[in-house]
């Protein structure tokens, strides 16, 4: 789905990504792991053009990202961030920001896909628990019907139980055909969720640990 070709990102004289070449297939969950500061988030943000590379080319579905309208790309490639960023108002208002024309049935369906009760639509977003809030952000992205999901350490602030719920939800989405690129520093989580793992260290995709995991 994504092809990275000698992609370099330089920030304040430092190479955050250093000639990274990688191929992320459409099927399943691809995990990018590595210590903090390794360039994982940057790699993810390049995929929906919240950042742009200093050198190299990234292709999505065979086309260079530069040739794609970023607004169209971002609706095809959704993103869930490390810290949930709820907008003011209800859960429904949050989903309406993503898809102003969505009916409450469509919003309810998006909540269900994110393992949330559709009855939450009327709740103030800020009254949700941490796990619910992160899944609301996932639902907010799903309501735009993306074909790819970028997950940036989405469970780093969650307790064990909501973390496992999120992982199951993501697996379910992947099984339904959504491409998932998941960034985490947690190797145990990587082993649990990944169909394949890439390892980043100091901006290098060192010893590309492509592990066709063969999940149980």
């Amino acid at each position: 789905m994504f092809e990275f070709e000698r992609v370099t990102v330089t920030r304040a004289g430092r190479r955050v990504l250093d000639e990274v070449t990688a191929s992320i297939p459409a099927a399943g969950i691809t995990v990018v792991t590595g210590p903090s500061g390794a360039g994982k988030t940057t790699m993810l943000r390049l995929c929906n053009r919240l950042d742009v590379p200093s050198a190299g080319t990234i292709r999505y579905g065979g086309r260079p990202l530069d040739d794609l309208d970023p607004l169209v790309l971002r609706r095809r490639v959704g993103m869930v961030f490390q810290r949930p960023a709820p907008f003011p108002g209800s859960v429904a208002a949050n989903l309406a920001v993503a898809s102003p024309g969505a009916t409450s049935d469509e919003m309810g369906a998006a909540l269900e896909r994110a393992a949330l009760d559709p009855a939450l639509l009327g709740r103030e977003a800020l009254t949700l628990s941490g796990g619910e809030l992160q899944r609301m952000c996932l639902a907010r992205t799903l309501v735009t019907s993306p074909e790819t999901l970028l997950l940036d350490e989405p469970t780093s602030a969650l307790d064990e139980q909501p973390k496992l719920v999120f992982e199951r939800t993501a697996r379910d989405l992947a099984d339904r055909g959504i491409t998932i690129v998941w960034v985490t520093h947690d190797d145990t989580q990587a082993r649990r969720v990944a169909d394949r793992v890439y390892r980043l260290r100091d901006g290098h995709l060192s010893g590309i640990n492509v592990r066709e995991a063969g999940r149980p």
Binding site: R75, F81, A85, V97, R140, T144
Partner: protein, 259 residues
Amino acid sequence: MNATVSWVGLGLSLLLVAVAAGISWWQRLGLHRQILVAAARALGQLLLVGAALTLIVSRGRSIWWSWAWVAAMLGYAATVARRRAPDVPRLLTLALASFTAAAVVTLGVLFGLHVFPLTGRTLVPIAGMMIGNSMTATVLAGRRLTDELHDKRDEVEARLALGQPSRQAATPYVRAALRAALTPQIETTKATGLVFLPGAMTGLILAGTAPLQAVLVQAVVMFLVLAATATTTVVIALGLIRRLFTPDHRLSQLPAPAE
């Protein structure tokens, strides 16, 4: 009665500066030196400006001198705005554009519709009021918008990641900044006459103008200031959005807000 101030009177009024400096000294605020310097500087600047204005607006002098004065004020105000809000990127040209827009709107209405006759005597002080207030509003709006986008970067990027164009993603923060910049002016306008008598009116009454006439002039000045601040802030906010976001709808790296 025409209240004129003699040089002796001016000297005696310096006692008031001494009161302020004395309070600073008594309470150990460490501000007395600053108070004295500020007062001396203000007096020097006012005397210089008074001398220049006497030359510029004197009878028979071409109105172009007054326009040149207005242009100089615009340029100076833009540099002051940039200095006061150094964390707002590339504010100088934006401030110039916004002051010019405010000048076109306000001077266009006041002189185009003959609310005031266009003379050096009316143009210079009215433009001064307009530019002075616009400068404060520019600094407020520019700082607030930059701070909002810096502090709420997560939220803004979440909106961008949902496919919103940068202009739309920035809308809630633009509104917050505009409200913050305009509210003080609206509050001042509401309280005028009840809580305080504004400077222009006080000056006119002291100079012997009939109170009703002073009130009418003051009302026009207040409306001028309202329109000027609204025009300036909206130009600043929309202009800043174009600069803080890239053409491909990414939010640029922003400096951390100044303490």
